[in-house]
């Protein structure tokens, strides 16, 4: 059974600081996604990571994937209040043509002044 663990579960950080969210998964997978969820809203796709060593960056967020360690990181640079949200990683478990997602527990990020 595929298990996905995220840490930390909650992160309070000051504006301007850097921090990293970690996502570990238990079995081989084709790809990994990072999603953002604002309160009361649905999931917004941030990144898809397809191969070992993949790195994607968008603004102050950078995601990377190490398939050998079964680890992905989401790095936040110089946080701003607008980044406050819950972040989920999700790992794909392929079954035929299906690509069902197994989600991590989520990291609730709160950026304070």
């Amino acid at each position: 059974e595929l298990k996905v663990e995220q840490n930390p579960l909650f992160l309070s950080m000051q504006e301007g600081k850097n921090y990293t969210i970690y996502c570990n998964y238990s079995t081989t997978s084709d790809r990994l996604y990072w999603y953002r969820q604002d309160p009361g809203k649905s999931l917004e796709s941030l990144f898809v990571l397809l191969s070992n060593g993949a790195v994607k960056q968008e603004g102050r967020l950078m995601a990377s994937l190490d398939t050998k360690a079964r680890l992905s990181t989401l790095h936040i640079t110089a946080a701003v209040h607008d980044l406050s949200a819950t972040y989920f990683c999700a790992v794909v478990l392929n079954t035929g043509t299906a690509s069902k997602l197994t989600f991590g527990t989520g990291t609730r990020l709160q950026v304070t002044l």
Partner: protein, 118 residues
């Protein structure tokens, strides 16, 4: 060019009643997924459709839960004899078929239906 839509956005029901939740996927997306998000269990997969058939129902928590999809488009998730533990946000996602230009068939999520069972 709309995204995935779901209705109703909110549903409050009494324990023991049946409810139907609807999902309209993005046009042309043949794959459709239902997920559930609850405080105790996080985000969990329920069922997957490819066209009108459901090759993977492994996430449905009990036989009170069923889903169908007609015309390769709209899907309905039905919960019979609702219980308080069914209270959650039910999310639908759709994607193009795998392969070709869409080798990693990204899933696009709808806004969800918040179900509250009293």
């Amino acid at each position: 060019g709309a995204g995935v839509s779901q209705s109703p956005s909110n549903k409050v029901t009494e324990k023991g009643k049946d409810v139907e939740l609807r999902c309209d996927p993005i046009s042309g997306h043949t794959a459709l997924y239902w997920y559930r998000q609850s405080l105790g269990q996080g985000l969990e997969f329920l069922i997957y459709f490819q066209g009108n058939s459901a090759p993977d129902k492994s996430g449905l928590p009990s036989d009170r839960f069923s889903a169908e999809r007609t015309g390769g488009s709209v899907s309905t998730l039905t919960i019979q004899r609702t219980q308080q533990e069914d209270s959650a946000v039910y999310l639908c996602a759709s994607s193009r078929p795998a392969g070709g230009r869409h080798a990693y068939n990204e899933q696009f999520f709808g806004p969800g239906t918040r179900l509250t069972v009293l």
